[in-house]
């Protein structure tokens, strides 16, 4: 699936929640519960995303020129939020990750259910993922 197909899928899932805040929060936490387990050994200080109020760990690897992220958080809602990004970006190329406009955020009304502080944290997660993409891209270019 393309990143935009995944984004559209997320938008359609959230539309079923009909703007009900409680259902939305529960749904986000459910998504977090489905996130593949991150090995404890990856939960290092180095992998902590700076700028999040909750603790978020994020790391990525490259396989066949595509990036795969693993992530975790000490709060269930943040874990759900990062799981959305992992779902969109996993298996994508560095260029796709760098160039994606994450329009799903606005479409699902994310600003309504994450406050200012969480918004900053979410932006930090996106930035971190894009930094990974940039680093991997540079590495690949050097190799070729």
């Amino acid at each position: 699936m393309t990143v935009n197909q995944i984004q559209d899928e997320i938008i359609s899932e959230f539309s079923l929640l009909d703007g009900d805040m409680e259902m939305t929060v529960f749904y986000i936490m459910e998504l977090g519960q489905k996130l593949p387990v991150m090995p404890e050994s990856d939960k290092t200080e180095e992998n902590v995303v700076k700028g999040c109020q909750s603790k978020v760990w994020l790391t990525g690897i490259v396989k066949d020129e595509k990036i795969f992220f693993t992530a975790d958080s000490n709060t269930a809602i943040t874990k759900g939020l990062v799981s959305l990004l992992v779902r969109i970006f996993n298996g994508q190329t560095p260029d796709t990750i760098l160039n994606t406009d994450l329009y799903f955020m606005h479409k699902i009304g994310m600003e309504r259910f994450i406050g200012t502080q969480r918004s900053n944290g979410f932006a930090a997660m996106i930035k971190q993922m894009k930094l990974y993409a940039l680093a991997f891209k540079t590495k690949m270019e050097v190799k070729s």
């Binding site: 009900d20 805040m21 409680e22 939305t24 929060v25 529960f26 936490m29 109020q53 909750s54 000490n74 709060t75 269930a76 809602i77 943040t78 259910f113």
Partner: protein, 415 residues
């Protein structure tokens, strides 16, 4: 655990009181708002809101210096609040009431002025493990500058101060003791009268941070014999941005000014400035006139209801909430002191307090989550933070039911 017998039976018409608070009558996320973040800031009754509007509509002017009618009216209203504050805490005179931006500034005023003038190398300042960062950091500044030592009264697992340890900390080196009347994180009401008496025995002065007491506990500074007492208006139904510092006159007179500027001077030449009399010596610049004027309406509001009645109602809520929340599975109450204001702090095993806060918000319930600006206290309990529900006179048992219902749903979902 909180004792279950309120001092007096509740005499208040809570429904009528709720009508005075327009903000309460709204829906948040599709549900009736339940506002349980009163320890952070309380909501404002119409009388306070109208006092602000009346001031700006009718007599906004700079105070003390003008001779025109509006300036006179504004000055009178401003000074009437000082009189109300004096009566509210039973100070001896209006000269002992200084308007500040709130407790934080009041403490900083004392730490900067008194601390810098009278604390010397080798002296000791005592605070407690229950203090808000505002009653820690200003003293750290003084201690660092003066090479003095900051000592801390330890806290028991119930959240009460260890008075035996306090007695041992006191010595001829103790210059100042700064303690809260009630803890913002746990609600513990501290035995400040005894704390003050013991400090005075070694010649130390005592500052009481009354942020969490103003709207809940009777305050009589003469009976307490405290040297300084601080209040924040916004935690007691008044506007944000103002509060008071009470200080014993003889101490305030000895203290150097805090800020320099207009109002605090008697005469200025380029060679020398002489300072104004109390309380103006400590009120440099144009003050927060509107909010101070409206603060009087907050004092009146509390006086009309009667602090005993307010305390009885909040106690009833606290007992009910404690009973209901403590029965929920995986919940651990943090702070179970015998004497508490209406603050219920708790943690739920396996669920982060941020998640609980957001889930409750999704159901219209506003609580505080985090360390409540008391990181050392949280460290002492071995936790990062708590969920805190704090009550005011307009809260009801039905609202507590809404909180408990929300908690039950979260706990069931997560387990």
């Amino acid at each position: 655990m909180v004792s279950s017998s309120p001092a007096i039976t509740n005499k208040l018409d809570i429904e009528a009181i709720r009508k005075e608070f327009p903000i309460l009558h709204q829906q948040v996320n599709g549900r009736d708002l339940v506002y349980f973040d009163n320890a952070a800031t309380s909501q404002k009754p119409l009388s306070v809101i109208n006092a602000l509007i009346d001031y700006y509509k009718g007599y906004n002017a700079n105070i003390h210096r003008g001779i025109h009618t509006l300036a006179e009216k504004a000055t009178k209203a401003y000074e009437e609040t000082r009189h109300a504050a004096k009566r509210f805490i039973n100070a001896q005179s209006e000269q002992e009431i200084i308007f500040t931006r709130g407790v934080t500034e009041s403490i900083n005023l004392v730490s900067s002025s008194y601390g810098r003038a009278f604390v010397k190398e080798g002296d000791e300042i005592i605070i407690s493990g229950l203090e808000h960062h505002s009653n820690i950091v200003p003293w750290q500044f003084v201690c660092e500058e003066k090479k003095a030592t900051l000592r801390t009264i330890p806290v028991s697992p119930e959240g009460e101060l260890d008075l035996d340890a306090y007695r041992k900390l006191l010595s001829s080196k103790t210059k100042l003791v700064s303690i809260n009347h009630a803890s913002n994180s746990l609600g513990t009401i501290n035995p400040i009268k005894e704390i003050i008496k013991l400090a005075h025995e070694v010649g130390a002065v005592v500052l009481v941070d009354g942020a969490q007491a103003g709207a809940h506990i009777e305050i009589d500074v003469q009976d307490l014999d405290c040297d300084f007492y601080c209040l924040s208006s916004h935690k007691m139904y008044g506007p944000t941005g103002t509060g008071i510092l009470y200080g014993k006159k003889e101490l305030l007179e000895k203290m150097p000014p805090y800020h320099g500027g207009g109002e605090m001077i008697k005469e200025v030449t380029f060679e020398k400035t002489t300072y104004n009399d109390l309380p103006y010596k400590f009120e440099a610049g144009t003050p927060n006139i509107a909010d101070v004027v409206a603060y009087k309406a907050a004092f009146d509001f509390i006086n009309e209801l009667g602090k005993e009645n307010i305390a009885a109602h909040e106690h009833e809520l606290l007992v009910y909430a404690t009973e209901r929340v403590s029965k929920l599975k995986s919940v651990k109450l943090i702070g179970t002191a015998k004497h508490k204001v209406g603050v219920l702090s708790f943690a739920v095993e396996g669920i982060h307090h941020f998640d609980i806060g957001q889930m409750l918000d999704a159901r219209g319930v506003a609580v505080r989550t985090g360390h409540h600006c008391t990181q050392p206290l949280m460290t002492c309990f071995g936790i990062e933070g708590t969920v805190r529900a704090s009550f005011a006179v307009y809260n009801t048992k039905q609202e507590i039911d809404q909180l408990v219902e929300g908690l039950e749903r979260i706990i069931n979902f997560m387990k």
